[in-house]
């Protein structure tokens, strides 16, 4: 019996114009590890919800075909009952935390499923320890950072120990170290305990080769369902941006071999020595902080941080969860005041796009949302309209200009939030985790956009845990830990030489970005071959 089966399943949300799932026909065997890939709005999240019966029981809408989970037809069993067999970690951690403390959060599902009271505390603690969140057990969930919340959300599902585990972008807010550990844990749970895992991810680098199968979706349909090697071949032709960076690099360089992991790549090509780059010349500083200190609650969010952001450069601000990146970003934008230290604010305008795009959705249409900031600047109507049209076009939102912002998918909302700030043409633009929920294709467009803005003289700062994105977008890298800046304006090649804060291409080939890696691979094979 299949762990999960979809028999010609189509589903349409209430009042939607098109099917979110269209004739999906697949089965997942017990103990399989399946990686689900696809663009934003391709149907991945809906598929996972359907497996737990949330679609249609919670969301309503029209479901055709048959979905079974552990042999139970989801039409006949509500999600509350199916939760005994299927665990689901949602995309947005903040929206799935129910209890006030992480230890109680981890116990919540166990209590619902009627586990013996004596067992609950132990299992909850074990699950928190497994995701490195033991130290958070007694904190108030409202005070946790996004990454910490994500760990707690994952622990609260792992604690329940169901035989089928579904994860919807579980690492989108985690720093690379924790993300690596977490995915390692998921693989271990699958391999050692035989738990069936279906994991939807945009950042496929870590898990592509580990999966037993890769399923790609587009417009609600399954377009590829094959082993990783076969899927890589198929996607290299149709949707290379769904592949791990290292596979993409080989595909784009026209190589026959398509390695799926860093290790595979190294068997094919020697890791290049570090590139020799001249020290980047200083550009005019647009904004910065010197010896900045800021206390938030009981935590020194900034503890003597010094950083400068230059005109025409894209700076990637990286570091572990809770390092102080967001606080530093808000300080330079003038949104948070320093307790001590000196701030050099942007001369004209600083734009900040925060982690939650919902906070930027205050109007009735997409076009009005983008026009909001521009209108507040008091620009003439013609200039306003020009900027709105150009920004909508640039961020691939032109076709949605009359739609209500809250009807957009999470990736589209993210782009709209960015558009509403970018349209103001700030001289300092800060994007805080801009790739959360954004697919590879749109990520490439985002890279192009920040590069273009930098070329026009804007100082762009990208706060990110996505090292592959940082490697593509950034000129320089600023690393933070414990409220301090450890390295300011290092060359982006630093993302090829680090240990954990490193892009996949950097690890494999010694070149941080896709363009550099493709250039390296395009050299005569003999020179580059091991």
């Amino acid at each position: 019996m299949a762990a999960l089966s979809f028999e010609h399943v189509s589903y349409r949300y209430p009042d939607a114009g098109a099917d979110a799932l269209a004739d999906v026909d697949l089965a997942v065997a017990p103990g399989e590890l399946v990686l689900l890939v696809g663009g934003s709005g391709s149907g991945k999240s809906t598929l996972l919800r359907a497996a737990l019966g949330l679609v249609p029981h919670f969301h309503g809408g029209e479901l055709r075909g048959r979905v079974t989970a552990a042999g139970h037809d989801t039409r006949d069993h509500r999600p509350g009952e199916l939760a005994r067999h299927v665990g689901l970690v949602f995309q947005d951690p903040e929206a799935q935390l129910v209890m006030g403390r992480p230890d109680r959060e981890a116990a919540f599902g166990l209590e619902n499923l009627g586990h013996p009271a004596a067992e609950i505390g132990l299992r909850a603690r074990e699950a928190l320890a497994a995701v490195g969140a033991s130290h958070l057990a007694a904190r108030a969930t409202g005070t946790l950072s996004g990454g910490e919340q994500q760990r707690v959300a994952i622990a609260s599902v792992l604690a329940m120990g169901q035989p089928i585990l579904l994860l919807d972008e579980p690492t989108s807010q985690l720093d690379p170290v924790v993300a690596e550990e977490l995915l390692g844990l998921v693989v271990r749970i699958n391999r050692d305990r035989g738990v069936t895992v279906v994991l939807a991810e945009h950042r496929t680098g870590r898990l592509f080769a580990e999966a037993d199968r890769v399923i790609a979706m587009r417009d609600g349909r399954v377009t590829v369902d094959a082993t990783p090697a076969v899927a890589a071949r198929a996607l290299a032709a149709s949707a290379p941006w769904l592949l791990p960076p290292v596979t993409q690099a080989f595909a784009r360089a026209g190589r026959d071999e398509l390695p799926l992991t860093v290790r595979d790549a190294r068997t094919l090509v020697a890791r290049a020595p570090a590139a020799v780059r001249p020290q980047a010349t200083r550009a005019p500083i647009v904004a910065g902080v010197a010896s900045g200190r800021k206390r938030l609650g009981d935590v020194d969010a900034l503890d003597g941080a010094t950083a400068a952001f230059e005109a025409g450069r894209v700076t990637a601000l990286i570091g572990e969860n809770g390092a102080g990146k967001t606080t530093l970003a808000r300080v330079v934008c003038g949104l948070v005041e320093l307790d001590r230290g000196r701030l050099r604010p942007a001369a004209e305008r600083a734009g900040y796009v925060g982690q939650d795009p919902a906070h930027y959705l205050v109007h009735e249409t997409v076009a009005d949302e983008v026009a909001y900031g521009v209108r507040n600047l008091g620009l003439p109507a013609a200039e306003r309209e020009r900027r709105v049209a150009a920004t909508l076009e640039r961020l691939d939102l032109a076709g949605m200009r009359a739609r209500h912002p809250r009807d957009l998918s999470s990736g589209e909302r993210q782009r709209l939030a960015i558009a509403s700030v970018v349209a103001m043409e700030p001289d300092l633009l800060v994007l805080d985790e801009p790739t959360r929920g954004v697919d590879g294709l749109r990520k490439t467009a985002l890279v192009e956009m920040v590069r273009r803005m930098a070329a026009q003289g804007t100082a762009v700062v990208v706060v990110t845990h996505d090292m592959d994105f940082a490697a593509e977008a950034a000129d320089v890298v600023t690393s933070m830990a414990s409220g301090r800046v450890l390295a300011d304006r290092a060359h982006r090649d630093a993302l090829a030489t680090g240990i954990f804060f490193v892009s996949q291409l950097g690890l494999a080939l010694g070149r941080a970005s896709l363009a550099d890696a493709v250039a390296l691979l395009a050299q005569p094979h003999e020179a580059a071959r091991v």
């Binding site: 949602f90 209890m99 808000r330 919902a358 939030a417």
Partner: protein, 274 residues
């Protein structure tokens, strides 16, 4: 704090606010509930502003919608629908009703802030899962609202909005509500996905009540008893129309003072250093 002692100590002013008529009792309920709220952990401001402004609105509106009382203080011009004759009785009734509204809101807010929402959810989930879910969402809603409000203001500021403008601030209320409703739906979905509402629910072992919680419960029970005695003996009664009665009845003053003092003691206990 465990929900039961919190319910007792905030239930007393709530009971007085709902059932008493005498202004001293209503004032004591308002003061007592306000003291409890200000002793509770933050956030408190939003609750307090909502409670007091609701009470003020009731006080201000009553003389113009009520057509009662014999002691005319002011006769305004004729306006259709509105009663522009203001009487002392209407003002007194409005003040009483305003205190009733404010005290009720403050008492509920104090309970929300004092009671451990997780324990409340656990305690009620087995008997009334739907109500417990609503209670859980409501207790999460205000802190989440405050965080979302801060986020929305930050997003508006970065888009050059003038936050000092009342129009701008008012325009952000709708999105704030929409965001919190979306969040509530997501939480409800997450609860269902983790088996909420399935049969056979168990509870993780809980800690025993602390000495402070016992003392708090005792004060609360005494306060509830004081209000109950006041109601049974008629000490909470009062006449507003056609002419005002004399509120200075010994039983009413003593009972109201006892209620306020018990609430003050409970508030002091919350703030007492550990």
């Amino acid at each position: 704090m465990k929900p039961l002692p919190a319910a007792l100590v905030t239930g007393a002013p709530l009971l007085a606010a709902v059932a008493a008529w005498n202004p001293f009792w209503l004032a004591a309920a308002t003061i007592g509930a306000a003291l409890m709220l200000f002793a509770a952990p933050p956030p408190r401001r939003l609750y307090a502003v909502t409670a007091f402004s609701s009470g003020l609105v009731v006080f201000a509106v009553n003389p113009f919608v009520s057509v009662q009382g014999l002691s005319v203080l002011w006769q305004g011009p004729h306006i259709p629908i509105l009663d522009t004759q203001v009487t002392a009785e209407e003002l007194a009734y409005g003040a009483g009703a305003g205190m009733r509204v404010a005290a009720s809101a403050l008492a509920v807010a104090a309970f929300i802030r004092l009671a451990d929402a997780d324990l409340l959810l656990r305690a009620t989930a087995r008997v009334a899962p739907r109500s417990a879910m609503i209670a859980a969402l409501a207790t999460r809603m205000v802190p989440a609202l405050e965080r979302d409000a801060a986020g929305i203001v930050l997003a508006a500021r970065t888009r050059a909005a003038r936050m000092s403008s009342p129009r701008t601030a008012a325009a952000l209320l709708g999105p704030l509500l929409a965001t919190s409703l979306e969040r509530s739906l997501s939480v409800a979905e997450a609860m269902e996905a983790r088996g909420y509402g399935a049969s056979g629910r168990t509870r993780a072992p809980e800690r025993h009540a602390t000495g402070r919680e016992w003392a708090f419960g005792l004060l609360g029970a005494t306060a509830v008893a004081v209000v109950a005695i006041g109601l049974l003996t008629g000490a909470t009664a009062y006449r507003y129309y056609d002419t005002l009665g004399d509120p200075l009845q010994p039983g009413a003053v003593a009972g109201a003072a006892a209620l306020a003092l018990l609430c003050a003691a409970a508030a002091g206990l919350v703030r007492w250093p550990r």
